[in-house]
Symmetry: C2
Subunit: 398 residues, 2 copies
């Protein structure tokens, strides 16, 4: 469809949808228009943006003969799944930003793409404006991939930055993030690591060719972080960052986790602040690459969406090359690593089944240990950790 | 040539060429072999690497019917130009890392690509392992580009890092960089900014669609930096970085320069150390993007070369889309900006024709001023600045 005008059927008109509309008005070279928009509240949107043609019917958009590309930017993952599969089955290429839907349905969506010969692009789904997926697909695909890790959620990073740099109390940082529109409608998605988890699943598929069910990955956020934890990090000259981590071990196992990590000053990620996302990609030959960009906000994400829209014009599609390579790494949670754990009762400590404890501190106010635990154990007791308000963070030696 | 086996005709077998050879042995999925290598000293290379087929004749490689892709990795820009144009005219796609050759001949090379319908890829030419060109072409191409700037030379950055972080004397840092193989055979290429200049010309073409003759761009390096300058930077809490800078002004002018800059702690580039390159790309909608990766060394660069080789298989070619966009920014040196200048005599100062001086310091040992100068003036007196061993750095307010 090289020279063809793109007629977008858009789903959702929130921050990113509106950002896309504004961006298209600024970039006539994009040669694309929004011809139909599906939203829940037609009356409200029609009043606010009379230039656009709103409807509440999914079919009206998908069956509109004028529409030749679908852009899906809604919150609801299951509705998004119906939209995306409905469009692909009609052989309409799709651009989506719905990480939860992708993380759950990627294997099937890859299958439908092949079956229908229709492209699904979703670079906006992981790390907002940073072209991570594209680069993993097109640029880092010839090297021996070692790891992909980073700050995948802008909202929680914004909160951590405010706490560590401005000494803002936890609650106030949360309030400010909400005010700036950085938090999802359900803030636990950001703060408990679920948003990072979905992105990690997507990145892992493109980096290592392996799809891992999100339910199998240990995921723990910053909700239970307290002033005592912040003090500990400061004393060690480190900062807590919420990190999504995928790493291939030398013996071909694939380790995944989303959890806070104590990051030292000499790491790129230490200085990745505010609503920025930062991803470190490591390969045997190219070494370390670090990519940083805004991970929250309507405009940066809509810019990523437009890049995908534009690539549809050039018949670009993900090739998922890594999935076809000979020996894929085996996903496992069976690995032990050093952690910092702030706990409340001795029972909490038993729960974790430490393999080794190297430091132990308790005072009237706070108790913590540093030691080695098994990731499989953490995954098994995730709910209990949260119920007991235990805070846990990976604590690498360097 | 999707499934076709790639038979590489290679020119040059230095760090990067050897790195490519090793990488290909590690990645059989690349489905590419080096079938012929053109070097100056055939006997030496044949003895060291008997598995490869060496020759000293350019024609023997280009006319070898087995060769279906040419990879050019030699130092000499004029010989590289003959190789690249010779290959393209024979309709052999080319991957090159020769920034000097590209910076001088890009308009003609773009023309030959169109004429012959044959691709020339060169992501390895700018910032080693960082896919800057690819991302400018494919990902940031739909936004309104504001600026591209950064550390484009790994060797000089390595030296600056050693001086600022380890307090190493200038001369010793230089020696260490040479020992580690980070310096070009002619170190002034790195230290006086010429290497950064060539990369800046290439990046500017892809970011703004404008080709600027390297001779028109003010280029000044770190050769004349002394301990007094380092002390000044430290006192201000800043670091000198050698920055290539391209920026579009709101009124549509394009400003280019390569020179040291006093970088404050809150900038991404401040923490980009050692042989790493770091580029900040700014667009109206996506905001700031920061890309970091190794900018010196054989393996990282050969990894970038292999990415390009692999893209040839998928018929990828640069579209130079920005060149076709409606209104291109006009290159000019007519802009004034704040600088720090350490000088020796009053005559030095007159030479610079300051528009305004805001600070002035002199002691028995050192003299400096802070003030505003015009870039056109700096460009005109570049040789005199160097002859008089004047050190000059941009000194932005933030």
């Amino acid at each position: 469809m090289n020279k063809q005008h793109l007629n977008i059927g858009l789903f959702g008109f929130g921050n990113v949808g509106r950002g896309l509309y504004e961006l298209l008005q600024n970039v006539p070279e994009a040669n694309a228009d929004i011809v139909r928009v599906c939203v829940r509240n037609v009356a409200r949107h029609s009043a606010a943006t009379p230039a656009l043609n709103f409807t509440s019917s999914m079919e009206e958009v998908l069956d509109d003969p004028a529409v030749n590309i679908v852009v899906e930017l809604i919150d609801d993952a299951e509705a998004a799944y119906r939209i995306v599969t409905g469009a692909l089955r009609r052989r309409l290429p799709v651009v989506t930003g719905n990480k939860k839907m992708l993380a759950r349905h990627l294997p099937e969506l890859i299958h439908i793409q092949k079956e229908t010969g229709t492209a699904l692009l979703y670079d906006a789904s992981a790390c907002g404006s940073i072209p991570v997926i594209r680069n993993l697909e097109e640029y880092y695909d010839n090297d021996l991939q070692i790891s992909v890790k980073g700050i995948l959620n802008g909202s929680s990073n914004f909160i951590l930055s405010k706490i560590f740099n401005d000494g803002m109390p936890h609650a106030e940082a949360l309030r400010l993030a909400r005010e700036l529109g950085f938090l999802e409608s359900d803030p636990t998605l950001d703060l408990d690591g679920w948003d990072s988890l979905y992105k990690l699943v997507i990145l892992t598929l493109h980096a290592f060719g392996v799809y891992v069910d999100p339910e199998k990955i240990f995921t723990y956020g910053i909700t239970h972080m307290t002033d005592a934890d912040i003090l500990f990090a400061r004393e060690k000259g480190r900062r807590f960052k919420l990190i999504g981590h995928a790493e291939k071990t030398p013996d071909g196992r694939l380790i995944l986790a989303v959890m806070p990590q104590l990051i030292s000053k000499n790491k790129f990620i230490y200085s990745c602040e505010d609503e920025f996302n930062g991803v470190v990609i490591k390969g045997l030959f190219y070494g370390k690459q670090f990519l940083v960009g805004r991970g929250a906000g309507g405009h940066p994400t809509s810019s990523a969406v437009l890049s995908d829209i534009s690539s549809i014009r050039y018949n670009y599609f993900y090739r998922y090359k890594r999935m076809q390579s000979g020996e894929l790494p085996r996903f496992t949670n069976d690995i032990s690593f050093r952690v910092y754990v702030r706990y409340n009762t001795d029972e909490d400590l038993d729960l974790l089944q430490f393999e080794e404890i190297s430091e132990r501190y308790y005072s009237e106010d706070t108790r913590y240990v540093i030691g080695r635990v098994n990731l499989r154990r953490l995954h098994a007791i995730r709910h209990l950790l949260s119920e007991r308000k235990i805070f846990i963070a990976a604590y690498p030696n360097d």
